[in-house]
Symmetry: C2
């Protein structure tokens, strides 16, 4: 049994939904299907979810929102007509939306969640209806009836453990099951949406619950690329990636999907495959627990901007038991989360996402560090980018660091920071933001354009046994 | 005014003491002299301090220790005879030792401190006596009378702030002042010794107190070398070194002296010079706050073994606010101090000195991390060496990291860890202990043997403005 999830662009129009249904029916194992709300049909289009947010906002403000409601229904009408469906499904959707607008608006979070979630919910009904119209056994699955139970935090639902046993029973149902993504229900029966990457979360939970052989995540790219395609023309595709590698790449700006959404599937060791709805014969990128290592120990390169470093210096710092802990405690008390803490003997730098510090918080933080830790110097440096070079085989390969730092050096970018741990999947470099793209291109060249294989054979770097 | 400190080997025999007195009298600015107890005269010899410890131990055990006492006195007798001094000084030393043995043994720590400190104290009296015998105005200075006040922790005295004002008055005294190293007095009048590097500490305190123009630290090597002379034959000498550079080098196995002993001089910005009693015309190594940078951005290379890493892995670790702080808190509660914490997204390694963990503590630590932090994996890896490449100009030089990692790679040693911060004096590499010497030799070759200057001119690495 496979779980297939289709993102917004895959279900944005009748034409796309036909592609989706061809994909579903091409493999008898694709029995559990998670769908998003209709996304953008072209760059200028609006997502259904955004139309629904506008509808909810207007309704909360004015107590009515006929034009906004009509705009939402028009999206489904357009799809239904082009799929040659009857008007029943549109009437069902209209009634559903009216019922949602009629619920209590005194809790605007729950009201908003209910309207937002209708995008996925009604699209699932519509797609099930379309499959049925083709004579295929298909069922819309209601998350409440199926038992997808979540914590009661509007917009930030967390799956409850009992969901897995409930959802396991879906295995016994016949036909193709169309499951709306993005939301579940609290034990009290309230609809609650997931955080960012909501439909991906639903897919991952279902894949884990039914113990799927594969979780297919259909999107609009052929695969995950070894580097951001906006930086390098036609970059190489990644055929296999481990969970850890995916996570490290996603961390530093890989935006194929929100990788934390995968967590339930990762924990259950379900293989994941990223595929393209518009080119389903492309092999895609497989994300698995363990992979065969290729000759190239690097699997991907990513970078992200918007970091800053807090540099703290104090003579004899490393003899002061508890210094690092106290520094991190101050950050915690100020609700600042940090990424890395490279250190010298008398100095430590804390690298964090810069958007956490406004001017006032920055000043307070610097003052607290100065006064409470009695340090000699505190300096804040903004405009830092982190570059990650990722590959599980890297730490077994002598010379890997040398090639990476040489590549950055060739791009004429200074390395502000290197962070490489004892048994890790990645190597991290800090550079000034303005140099990040140049450095990434140079690293890509080093590992993916200079015909690594040939060079490695000519001038082999020893590999640890 | 200069403060000169002479170590144990510099005052081990009459011959050495003559050298010392020649050095003192060669420069009229050398007015405040700190001396150690007589050290080893040859490799097989015993240090006076060790004889004194044996004396104290035996006395505490048996209530008498005539043979041990005689052994100590014999050392001074030998020196005094060869300096053509009268017997008065030996009788004075004998009476002093007997008085020390007569004090209350109910506090063995203080008893031991008093006997240990007699090595420096009596040697100072003897050297002052010798200078006087040459017709030079010289005075033995009693630390109690001079007001060197310290905290009352046997073997671990910390200087009290009021000492500096007290000792400043030594400037007004005429003649050459011979001050015994290694100990001070608590405000209640108890003799207490300093921790490791005790005479160096006394020198640094005096240099700071009298606002000396220079603190000369006389030892038995011509200078500090850029690398451990046991690893590389005739390594280059370091002519100038900043305080920070010295500290980073000392941290990783540079054993010219215990660098923390310098702290009082560093805080008062007193320049320090390491010189050789046996070759006083050699320029030595100057340790100062700021130096002119040479073309070679690297000033020294050091390494130290005996580290271990605790590798901790937990999925979604970097989203868990407080994780790092909690990990460090556990270490703190277990009284384990750590050196560095390189980190990935879902992993963090804690590098620490391995001698802190016996099998029982290691087990408890691993259990606590597993249970309290609910991590996926904890692994301890022993046998780690840290290599430091030190130089303040390094972080302004593009390509410095590339050359270092290439050099390590050429030595066929795998880099387990790299730790380089945002504005630091050093770059740190972790390698397996068995590879450390090879890697250090290769780094030395890269920076000091390949005629850096010529190569840099031929193929210049850009320097940040």
């Amino acid at each position: 049994m496979k779980v297939a999830k289709f993102g917004g662009s895959s279900v944005a129009s009748a034409e796309q939904i036909k592609k989706v249904c061809n994909i579903i029916t091409a493999d008898a194992e694709r029995r559990l299907v998670v769908v998003s709300a209709p996304g953008k049909r072209c760059k200028e289009d609006e997502k259904t979810t955004d139309l629904l947010i506008a509808l909810a906002d207007q309704y909360l403000l004015k107590g009515s929102a006929e034009a906004e409601l009509q705009k939402v229904i028009a999206r489904y009408e357009d799809i239904a007509q082009n799929l040659n469906l009857g008007t029943d499904i549109i009437e069902e959707i209209r009634a559903d939306l009216k019922a949602r607008l009629a619920i209590d608006t005194n809790n605007p979070g729950l009201f908003m969640d209910s309207l937002k979630a209708s995008g996925e919910d009604n699209n699932a009904k519509l797609i099930a209806n379309y499959l049925q119209s083709l004579g295929i056994e298909a069922h819309y699955i209601n998350p409440k009836e199926a038992g997808l139970l979540v914590s009661n935090e509007a917009g930030n639902a967390q799956v409850l453990p009992e969901s897995y046993d409930n959802l396991y029973k879906l295995r016994e149902k016949s036909g193709i099951l169309i499951f709306p993504g993005f939301f579940g229900y609290s034990p009290e029966g309230t609809l609650v949406t997931f955080p960012r990457g909501g439909s991906d979360i639903t897919g991952a939970i279902l894949a884990a619950a039914v113990q799927a052989d594969l979780y297919e995540n259909f999107t609009d790219v052929d695969s995950v690329y070894v580097v951001n395609p906006n930086l390098v023309e036609n970059p190489q595709e990644i055929s296999e990636l481990t969970y850890s590698e995916m996570r490290e790449l996603s961390y530093a700006g890989f935006s194929v999907f929100h990788e934390e959404a995968l967590a339930p599937a990762v924990r259950a060791s379900i293989p994941v495959c990223i595929k393209n709805t518009n080119n389903p014969s492309a092999p895609g990128t497989k994300i698995i627990a363990k992979r065969q290592y290729a000759l190239n120990p690097v699997v991907g390169i990513a970078s992200d901007t918007g970091f800053l470093s807090i540099y703290v210096e104090k003579y004899l710092m490393n003899r002061e038991i508890g210094f690092g802990r106290k520094l991190l405690q101050i950050l915690e008390e100020e609700h600042v989360s940090y990424e890395h803490t490279p250190s010298g003997i008398d100095s430590i730098s804390v690298i964090l996402r810069a958007n956490q510090l406004n001017a006032e918080k920055e000043m307070r933080l610097v003052e607290r560090i100065k006064n409470e830790l009695k340090v000699d110097k505190v300096e804040i440096e903004r405009g830092l980018a982190l570059i990650m070079i990722v590959g599980e085989a890297m730490h077994q390969t002598i010379g890997i660091a040398a090639r990476a730092v040489s590549a950055i050096q060739r791009s004429n970018v200074n390395i502000e920071m290197i962070n490489q741990g004892s048994s890790e999947v990645s190597m991290m470099f800090g550079v000034k933001e303005e140099g990040a793209d140049k450095a990434v291109r140079s690293i890509y060249e080093e590992y993916f354009e200079k015909s690594y294989v040939e060079e490695a054979l000519q001038n082999p770097y020893p590999v640890r046994s």
